[in-house]
Structure formats: structure tokens, C-alpha cells
Symmetry: C2
Subunit: 282 residues, 2 copies
């Protein structure tokens, strides 16, 4: 059996009892380590689970599924994923490959940022399409996520912005020279996401200052860091303020609220950066 086991969002103890039993008895245990991270590393997980864990990078998962699933027709193999195995990052491709190989699979669900985001107080059924905000480079500055947020805002829906993660990336130079030297991992902060959104708003205003934009510098947003961990942080602020809020270590998310019910406003007020934000939420 090939088990896809969700680890939840905080630390080693966010695994479910069912998941832990599988980890303890599995022949091999892999950890998907390139689309999300816990607040603790591989070593803490190994110590807590009492098992050796094999790090699975993108190459191994996307191309090396033979290795990953070897003997899974006879033995239990556990593939650990931060959050839910089919949440913000989906591993349906692994399921399809397992089925093709005639290997049975099972999913052990856990908390995903896609639902745990409810901790800010905005109701999940009022969220529209989620978006991904990617790191801009000097030459690549996509802004299609703005349009999706705008559609949600116009329909009164909230938007969860998943923020970019760069793990095991090569610099252009190292890539071209075929050198397997990797850059340090980078995790987009809520402040950088707000900054990029503000830049899009400024650009659009410069192009046509008469248009009414779905977002402005004064739009409220919610920054969240380390959801589910002991030191979780949630801050409600304007986009302009958020661009200089430091929420600490990764992972961060950003939410753009749409139309809010009174109870949703009451919740966001709990996390207001200052009194001016509170007054927006009355």
C-alpha cells in the first residue's frame, strides 16, 4: 500500500494517530520537502517518529516514482506531505502513477492551509478562487493573480493568496553551467506579497487614474504566519501597512477579504495592527 500521509501545519505532533501508526510500520518513509515546510525540520520528525526519513525532492517525486513506489505492491510505503496530501499542493499525479502500476493507495488527510485559513475568522464558504503569488524577478513580473483577486472582491468573496516557496533552485549561471549548486531556500513573506500587489495597483493607476480599482493601498488584508504552530501570528492591516509588517519566520499567507459579515469583522478586529484598522472594522 502506498500511503499519502498529511502532516498538518505546525510541528511533529500535528500528525494524526492513524498517520503515526502508518509511519511507524512502513518499510520506507519519504518526506516531500519542496512545496511546504513545518516549523521543525526532518531531524525533529525522525526523532519524534522514531524512524529514518528520506527527503524527496521535486526530481524524485516527479521523475523517480519507480524508486518511490518500489515494493509498494507488497509493503507499506509512507509518503509524508506537510498539510494535506491533496491540499494547496496536490499529489494526484502520484496517485495516477500508483494506479497505473497496480499499486493500492490510501490518503490520510490532515489540516491544510486551504481550510486552516479559517483561523483568521473569515468563513471558508465565503472564499472564492485561491491564488498563488510568485516571486518577481527583474524580467518576470506576472500579475494575473491581481485579476483573480479583483474578480473575487467584485463578487464579495475573500481570497487566499498562497505565497511562493523556492527550494533547491539553481541560479541561472549554475543552471547553464550544469553545476548542481543550489540557492538557499526562500519563502515569500506577507509583506513582500503586499508590496508586489501595491506595485500592480500603482502601475494600473499610472496607466489610467480614473478607473476604480478593486484594490488600493488602503484595502484591508490579513497576514498569517506559521498557521497551526504555537507561535502563529495573524495581523489585520491595510495593504500599505502590511508591506512593512514583519511576521517572523515562514510560512506566510495573505488573505484579501471581500464583503464581510459583522462576525467576520469582529474576528479580524482581534488581529488589528492598530486603532485605525479597528475603526475600519466597525
Amino acid at each position: 500500500m502506498f500511503y499519502l500521509v498529511g502532516l498538518g501545519l505546525g510541528d511533529a505532533k500535528d500528525i494524526t494517530e492513524k498517520g503515526l501508526e502508518i509511519v511507524k510500520r512502513a518499510k520506507r518513509v519519504y518526506l516531500e520537502a519542496y512545496t511546504s515546510i513545518l516549523t521543525v525540520g526532518k531531524e525533529a520528525l525522525e526523532q519524534h517518529y522514531g524512524r529514518e526519513i528520506i527527503l524527496a525532492d521535486r526530481d524524485m517525486v516527479e521523475q523517480g516514482s519507480d524508486e518511490l513506489m518500489a515494493e509498494a505492491d507488497k509493503e507499506d510505503i509512507a509518503f509524508l506531505v506537510v498539510g494535506d496530501p491533496l491540499g494547496a499542493t496536490t499529489h494526484t499525479d502520484l496517485i495516477l502513477r500508483a494506479v497505473e502500476k497496480g499499486i493500492q493507495y490510501r490518503i490520510v488527510h490532515n489540516a491544510s492551509i486551504m481550510s486552516a485559513i479559517g483561523c483568521c475568522g473569515l468563513q471558508l464558504y465565503n472564499f472564492g478562487e485561491a491564488v498563488s503569488i510568485v516571486f518577481w524577478t527583474d524580467t518576470w513580473r506576472p500579475d494575473s493573480f491581481y485579476d483573480k483577486i479583483a474578480v473575487n472582491v467584485e463578487r464579495g468573496m475573500h481570497t487566499l493568496c498562497l505565497l511562493d516557496i523556492k527550494v533547491k533552485e539553481q541560479s541561472l549561471e549554475n543552471l547553464m553551467r550544469g553545476r548542481k549548486i543550489y540557492e538557499p531556500p526562500r519563502f515569500m513573506s506577507a509583506s513582500l506579497a503586499a508590496e508586489q500587489l501595491l506595485e500592480i495597483v500603482e502601475k494600473k493607476t499610472a496607466e489610467d487614474s480614473t478607473q476604480k480599482l478593486a484594490l488600493t493601498a488602503e484595502t484591508l488584508c490579513v497576514g498569517l504566519a506559521r498557521v497551526g504552530a504555537e507561535d502563529q501570528k495573524v495581523v489585520t492591516a491595510t495593504l500599505k501597512q502590511m508591506a512593512s509588517v514583519d511576521l517572523g519566520g515562514p510560512l506566510h499567507s495573505l488573505v484579501i477579504p471581500g464583503h464581510m459579515h459583522p462576525m467576520e469583522k469582529d474576528m479580524l478586529r482581534l488581529f488589528a495592527l492598530d486603532d485605525s484598522v479597528k475603526s475600519f472594522l466597525l
Copy 2:
């Protein structure tokens, strides 16, 4: 501390290690038992956790929060919720009341149907607004959920339909006579949800047969039962077929796919009711 602890979706072993530790040490343990259920009952949970559990019905949660939170400023109180405490059913009102009373709270997240629905293979970031489908009566047949599904379909987004649950409901007669006699619990099946949707489609067609509707009897949908449990069942079929598919015991959910990527089609094909459904998914 007032802990809101998610139980996940399957059985007693879907609690997280963190959640279980809290249940074991809490002074009192409540189970929210009116918006969702596990495949096992209170007794199985009590036996597995080794703790007495107090059933919290709607009245106790909505009006009796004094009782619920008594001593939570000095002791640990655990409030267990199937799924995630802020998932399909949100308990933000309890959080607001705790804060008002000066009681600290913490959320222990877990799998919610809002994210575990990814197990059908449709990607979570392609879902639009979720809808609730309620039991119709002879005189009350709301259909606003149809319009929300139609908006999602037109935008190419998938829709998760949460299906109605009636627990501890009184008949009109018993309600009027003030008799505290409750009807047996009822859980809407995917087939009944499909039936109600078909009736709306038929009504709209009868009103104006020239209009192009977002849904028809031949629209594909996905019925899911007992997501996360050992005997989970997923079936892809047309709405017309789904109306007579028996997925077994509760809880059920229904998904209406929007535009599908090839890999999403490949996944739905795994659950096809018959070859004709498979051919729709090529």
C-alpha cells in the same frame, strides 16, 4: 485555556497527537454533535480517548457558553469538532465569546471536508464558492444554491456542495405543543442532492426551454461518502445517474466540476460509474 480541537473526518484515530494530548489532560471534554458526525459514535470516542465526553447540542453551544467555558480561565477545556473547528461549520462565535470573557483559546486544526474533497482529484484552487444544499419540504424549496453553482460553472470553477444535516429537530406539531420530542437524525445523500438539482433544472427548462442552462441531466458530478474513512466511496456519474446511486451511510458530499484539466479528468475516470461516464472524461 479553551481548546477547539478538530477530530478530522474518519474515526477516533483521526485526531492529531496534539489534539489527543489535550483531550487526555482537559478538565472537561465536549463534543459538538449537531453539524457533523464521524463514522463512529460518542462511545467509541470515549473508549478510545479514555475520557468521558459531554455531548454539546446546538442550544448548549449557542446559548450555554457560560457552562461550556466555566473555569476555562484556570483549567483546560476541550471542545471537539468533527473536521476542522473553523471548516465547513465555523465556531468563530465561541472564539469571540471566549475573548470577551478574557479566556485564552487555541485551535487544533485537522482535516476538513473543505480541503479533503481534493481526494476526488479536482484541484482545490480550481474551486469557487462552496454551497449548501438543504432538505426541501412541501412548502419550502429554496434554489439559490443552483445560481451559485451556475456562476462557478460559467467561470470554469468546481463547486463543493455541502449536504444538509438535521439533528435534534422537532416536528412542527411537537414544536408548537412545546414537546421536547426529537425526530431521528437525517443526513442528505448525494442522490437526493442530485434529485433536487435535477428538479430545479426541469423547472427552469419548463419556464423557458430556449435558455442554455449551466447544469443539465447529463452534467457530470462526483458523489463522495464518508471521506477519510476506511470505507470511503467516490463515484463520478451524470446528475441523472447520481440521483439513483446509493453511496451508503452518511456523510455525503457532492461536487459539480467546472472546467477540468487532463489530470483532473484522469482522476475522475478512476471513479466512473460506467463506461459512458469514462468516455465523457477522455
